[in-house]
């Protein structure tokens, strides 16, 4: 596959097996830069696995096998060192998982610090503040950066995880149902934060969600996955107004 200019993420012929089970079946899609792709589908359809195949967290799962190509901003994910590749991407997980033993500040600082991306303490402080601002959390935590994260609400913890991912200035941000375990107010805040990221930064977002509303609300592209197959992929407006596949229609109506 040749890199096509303007695309942030290109997937071609992607297949994933875990313990012999075919989880992702021949998926291919392309997302232009600075867009939000919503990956939707019922639970167990392979959305999370697709996400983990993009940043190679799939490597952590024993007896997993991947075939196909993934290009992220032109980098061939499966022919590079996985650790280098992962640094291009940030990830936010379904359940907020800030490191429980580190302060709010350290949670954000750990990525740049251990990857040696900053040269001075001031630079690090600046970066932490920037990331927390981008995650729309700064105003709520600026007075208590040394607190442990369990003092924060679930939604705040999730935004902290967003800030942790952003501190590495990723080109591609992967979110695995980030609002699934978060109250509605915080869910809206996270969506707002994502939108503003796209406005201000050179970043592309892949968002896994099982709620069609969220997908329609904030994405530019939608990929609908069912039983590991890519049923439908296209511009959000097209799919929301005029879904071609019967399953997509049912899912949008909440019947699958």
């Amino acid at each position: 596959m040749i890199e096509e200019k303007g695309y942030a993420l290109q997937i071609e012929g992607l297949n994933v097996w875990i313990r012999g089970k075919h989880i992702i079946k021949n998926v291919g899609l392309k997302v232009p830069k600075r867009r939000i792709l919503a990956v939707m589908g019922p639970s167990g359809s392979g959305k999370s696995t697709l996400l983990r195949a993009i940043n190679r967290l799939i490597d952590l799962i024993p007896e997993s096998k991947v075939e196909g190509k993934v290009l992220v901003y032109g980098t061939d994910v499966y022919s590079e060192d996985p650790y280098r590749v992962r640094r291009l991407m940030g990830m936010v997980f379904q359940t907020p998982n800030p490191f429980p033993n580190m302060s709010i500040y350290e949670n954000v600082a750990i990525g740049p610090k251990l990857n040696r991306l900053v040269r001075s303490k001031d630079e690090l402080n600046e970066l932490v503040r920037w990331a927390l601002e981008k995650a729309m959390l700064w105003d709520e935590v600026k007075g208590r950066l040394d607190d442990l994260p369990h003092r924060l609400s679930g939604g705040q913890q999730q935004r902290l995880c967003l800030a942790r991912a952003l501190a590495l200035k990723p080109k591609l941000l992967l979110l695995d149902e980030p609002t699934g375990n978060v109250d509605p107010v915080n869910a809206v805040k996270i969506e707002e934060a994502l939108r503003s990221l796209l406005r201000d930064l050179e970043i592309t977002i892949v968002l896994v969600t099982h709620t069609p509303h969220q997908a329609v609300r904030i994405s530019d592209y939608i990929a609908f996955i069912y039983m590991g197959e890519l049923v439908e992929f296209g511009l959000t407006d097209t799919i929301a107004l005029n879904p071609r596949h019967e399953l997509t229609v049912k899912f949008l109506r909440g019947e699958v």
């Binding site: 490597d59 060192d81 996985p82 650790y83």
Partner: protein
């Protein structure tokens, strides 16, 4: 298969793991190498005869047979397991089913303390406190009134004896057996317990049902407890009396393999073959321990499989 990128990490940690492996290889080699001369010289009689004739004059003058320490190991461990078993089962039932929270917490702290307390402290207490008490309040009265029963037939001279060692060992292995039984007890699913109680069982009947449900674990506890008791060294050496003696009388002094080693190994290098004999003894000890713990582990696995955890 280790991914190429992690190979450095793998190779960095590998030596540490290899050391643990090497320790076992060394242990096997040393035990086999050191015991061989004794096994070759005395053959099976090393374990079937009771002789201890060291000599500095030369190899042809010595004769060893470990039957007495083997007998002592067996008797003291059996006493210990027999006494500790009902006590351990009782503490598990008491803590899991009867005791209020605070008392339960207190008991569990005390049992942890018992498990960790240095064995030499038990030994000193056994020698200086327990043995005199046992001698004047248990052994002497039993001997005076029931001396027609073989286990009570002999006069408790100093009090250091098979019985003293067995009882001290019982105290020391209680926390251990308690732990094994507790683990199994907690694995019995709630529904079984509720079913038993809903049948209108009294707590005694309930207890019997629970015991039957964890029977393999109780066997495991006994076996693991026996292994523990057999390998205990210094505390036993202080209270067992240290005499080559095979006697049905529990008040007589005796030896165990490990207490024999504790007492005589330091001087053993002066006598031909004596070190080798002790290595052979420890080989038997180790083999028995491994056998018991192997069966014990299998039993515990059965409990786990039975209740699906």
């Amino acid at each position: 298969m280790i991914p190429k990128v992690d190979r450095g990490f793998f190779l960095t940690l590998l030596p540490f793991a290899a050391v643990i492996f090497a320790l076992f290889a060394l242990l096997a080699y040393v035990l086999a190498y050191e015991s061989w001369p004794a096994l070759e010289r005395f053959g099976i009689s090393l374990f079937t005869e009771n002789v201890w004739k060291p000599s500095e004059r030369g190899v042809e003058f010595v004769k060893y047979g470990l039957l007495a320490p083997l007998y002592g190991t067996l008797v003291t461990s059996l006493i210990a397991a027999a006494v500790a078993l009902p006590l351990s089962v009782a503490t598990v039932f008491f803590m899991e089913e009867m005791a209020p929270y605070r008392i339960k917490e207190f008991f569990s702290s005390v049992i942890d303390l018992m498990a960790g307390l240095p064995t030499i402290i038990y030994g000193l207490w056994g020698l200086e406190v327990m043995v005199p008490i046992l001698r004047s309040w248990v052994m002497s009265p039993l001997h005076e009134h029931l001396d027609f029963i073989p286990p009570f037939a002999c006069d408790p001279l100093s009090g250091a004896s098979f019985l003293a060692a067995g009882l001290l060992l019982a105290v020391m292995i209680i926390p251990f057996m308690h732990g094994v039984i507790k683990e199994a007890y907690r694995q019995v699913p709630r529904t079984y317990r509720e079913a038993a109680l809903s049948l209108g069982a009294t707590r005694y009947e309930y207890f019997r049902i629970m015991v039957s449900l964890i029977r393999p674990a109780i066997i495991a506890a006994v076996l693991l407890g026996l292994g523990r008791a057999a390998s205990e060294t210094v505390a036993v050496a202080l209270v067992v009396g240290n005499a080559f003696n095979i006697s049905p009388c529990l008040f007589a002094p005796g030896y165990t393999i490990s207490s024999l080693i504790a007492n005589q190994f330091t001087e053993a290098s002066f006598f031909p073959l004596m070190e080798n004999v002790m290595f052979a003894g420890s080989l038997v000890l180790l083999a028995l321990g491994m056998l018991f713990s192997g069966i014990g582990v299998v039993m515990m696995r059965r409990v786990r499989e039975l209740y699906g955890r």
